[in-house]
Symmetry: C2
């Protein structure tokens, strides 16, 4: 039953969240997630403050969390593309110690550059935070493309 007053329900209707869910479902080639709701599929992206506190300060990022980071920023790129018509894709460089750099590339332009820390703790307080954060990076990348359209389309 949908609770329209629930902020999570509103978050699931946001363009960025829908793009991320579409991307994740597209990876599910074996249909393992067919019976799962969108909220269930996004659940690993939610790490509450209590969960984060329970994690070690320094930790080896496992492949699953690296995959989620890749998916999150790939979804940012897809959403940028659907809003601007310019393709944008991520490239990451991660150390084994859990920090690294992520860039989102459109043509010859770096539309987003982030230094990532505590990668093993990657996640959002709740789905609203995920939607807000995603939309923020989409807006930032769009602004870069609008500032340098020739470089982004190169």
């Amino acid at each position: 039953m949908l609770d329209v007053a629930d902020p999570s329900t509103a978050a699931l209707a946001e363009p960025f969240t829908r793009t991320l869910v579409r991307l994740l479902r597209a990876q599910d080639t074996h249909g393992a997630w067919d019976a799962k709701s969108d909220a269930e599929i996004l659940k690993p992206f939610v790490v509450t403050r209590e969960e984060r506190r329970a994690m070690p300060i320094i930790g080896d990022p496992d492949p699953d969390v690296l995959w989620r980071i890749e998916m999150f920023y790939t979804a940012v790129g897809l959403q940028v593309e659907s809003e601007t018509g310019v393709m944008a894709g991520p490239m990451t460089k991660m150390s084994h110690e859990g920090f690294g750099r992520l860039i989102l590339i459109a043509g010859k332009l770096i539309v987003l550059s982030r230094h990532l820390r505590d990668v093993h703790r990657f996640g959002f307080d709740d789905l609203s935070a995920l939607a807000t954060e995603g939309a923020k990076w989409v807006a930032k990348a769009r602004a870069e493309i609008e500032a340098h359209p020739d470089v982004a389309r190169a």
Copy 2:
């Protein structure tokens, strides 16, 4: 004894080659290479046609070859910086299967983008080929910076 008619000697005097040697020597924190000549230090970058033919077509790139690729393009970036005043650094994404992508970044501009294949076979026929190839990428990166100076200095 220097043989000035030897193309390798001329190659060692090229700006790109000298930058690469300086970079490699700077990594040698234990002084293990102090007694080595520049040509000896660059030797692992030379892979003759015969050696390349003897290598398997598909191979896992070892950490040493990935390090040499990183050093080669870092030297391209350093040479770009010394010629333009704009810093440029590499970022690589490699698969375990030996292909990948390398970009050289200056500010928000991608000044060089290369899809790499057969990474395990990385090397140059001789030192002249290394110097020529390095100078070629430096020139390409410079041209990009000159075409989009505001983005490269962003």
